[in-house]
């Protein structure tokens, strides 16, 4: 008796399993196809790009800082422009001037028309020593159009965190408290005119002026 009641329910269950299996297979195929196409899109984009692309491009964090003129500054003010920026500090004798010199060469490799739609920024993580006036003195040396930004530690930390960057102050006991080094990420970040974070460059990649400039031209053209 109990067996008879058992079989039909088993059949129904078996029937369900088939549907479930088929549904799973279809879902899996769709999912694999989706990821493959996404991966293909990423590969295609990466082949065209010199920098490490972010596909899909994510929203570039809209940092809120102070510019070298002492005015409040947000990334979103630069919609319509390609933005290239990095983190650093002005007392940096090697890495930061190298990056900024590279930025200058990249920027000046662009046509005058393109330059009007590109803004280079340098965000100082050393707000203790880098006042807006310090940056105003320092940044234009690399190009008159470049803009230095800083802010209070909280706002700087929000910006570094959002872009995966980090920094730390290295004090030496017995030294003047104003004499210290700063270890920091030395990447460059590329934001497209819609405010999307498009690509990232490591420190060494920036030596290739023409390749970075070509990426910027491509982003300008596709927007």
């Amino acid at each position: 008796m109990s067996e008879r009641t058992f079989y039909p329910s088993f059949k129904v269950q078996g029937f369900n399993w088939r549907i479930v299996f088929a549904a799973c297979a279809i879902a899996l195929t769709v999912l694999v196809a989706f990821f493959l196409s996404r991966y293909a899109a990423y590969r295609k984009l990466q082949e065209q790009f010199y920098g490490q692309v972010l596909e899909p491009a994510q929203e570039g964090y809209d940092f809120r800082l102070i510019d070298q003129n002492g005015k409040a500054f947000q990334l979103s003010q630069l919609r319509g422009k390609v933005v290239l920026f990095s983190f650093g500090y002005t007392h940096c004798p090697d890495v930061c001037p190298t990056t900024l010199t590279d930025f200058g060469k990249i920027y000046r490799a662009l046509s005058e028309n393109d330059r009007e739609r590109v803004q280079v920024l340098f965000i100082s993580v050393d707000s203790r020593r880098d006042q807006p006036e310090t940056l105003k003195n320092y940044i234009p040396y690399f190009d008159a159009s470049f803009l230095g930004l800083t802010g209070d530690a909280n706002h700087i930390n929000e910006a570094t965190r959002a872009y995966g960057a980090s920094y730390e102050f290295v004090h030496h006991p017995g030294e003047d408290p104003d004499v210290y080094l700063v270890n920091h990420s030395a990447y460059a970040y590329l934001i497209d005119p819609d405010g999307k974070w498009k690509a990232i460059y490591d420190f060494d990649q920036l030596r290739e002026t023409e390749k970075v400039a070509a990426d910027i031209r491509r982003v300008l053209k596709s927007s």
């Binding site: 007392h91 090697d94 890495v95 190298t98 010199t101 040396y141 730390e168 270890n183």
Partner: protein, 151 residues
């Protein structure tokens, strides 16, 4: 009295380099000092140093008329959450193997010129004395100031 003191000082100044240092057997090429951007307080010197002897040498520092201190530094790389963080550290010396070459370059090993006493401009020549161990070997150089590495 004053003349005598002056005479002794001049004599000592003349004798010191002869008494303590010997020229290092190195060949320096591609040397340049980074022009200091306004507001910056330190800069760096870069070059290729070839050790012409069989004995390994240590570049332990140097001296210059434009900086209080000249120190050998290395660039450190650490990884934080998958991202690289660059830093600098003073080291006691940078090794140049026998018959080998040490390259000081941006973002790598370099000589940091700390506490600038003057701010030479691109095209200027700066006197820099490199100090090596073992012993008290040195090399006197005249290095051009530039915004970029020489071509």
């Amino acid at each position: 009295m004053r003349v005598k003191t002056l005479f002794i000082v001049v004599l000592c100044a003349g004798l010191l380099p002869i008494a303590s240092a010997e020229p290092a057997s190195v060949q320096v090429t591609n040397a340049w000092i980074r022009e200091v951007p306004p507001a910056a307080t330190d800069t760096a010197a870069y070059m290729k140093i070839r050790n012409l002897s069989q004995t390994p040498l240590q570049l332990v520092g140097g001296s210059s008329t434009i900086a209080r201190k000249v120190e050998p530094m290395v660039t450190t790389k650490q990884t934080r959450g998958g991202h690289e963080v660059l830093g600098m550290e003073t080291v006691t010396g940078l090794t140049i193997p026998g018959r080998g070459t040490l390259e000081l370059k941006p973002g790598g090993d370099h000589l940091m010129m700390m506490g600038l006493l003057s701010r030479p401009k691109e095209g200027d020549q700066v006197k820099l004395t490199l100090k090596f161990s073992p012993g008290d070997q040195q090399a006197d150089l005249q290095i051009p100031v530039s915004k970029e590495p020489p071509k």
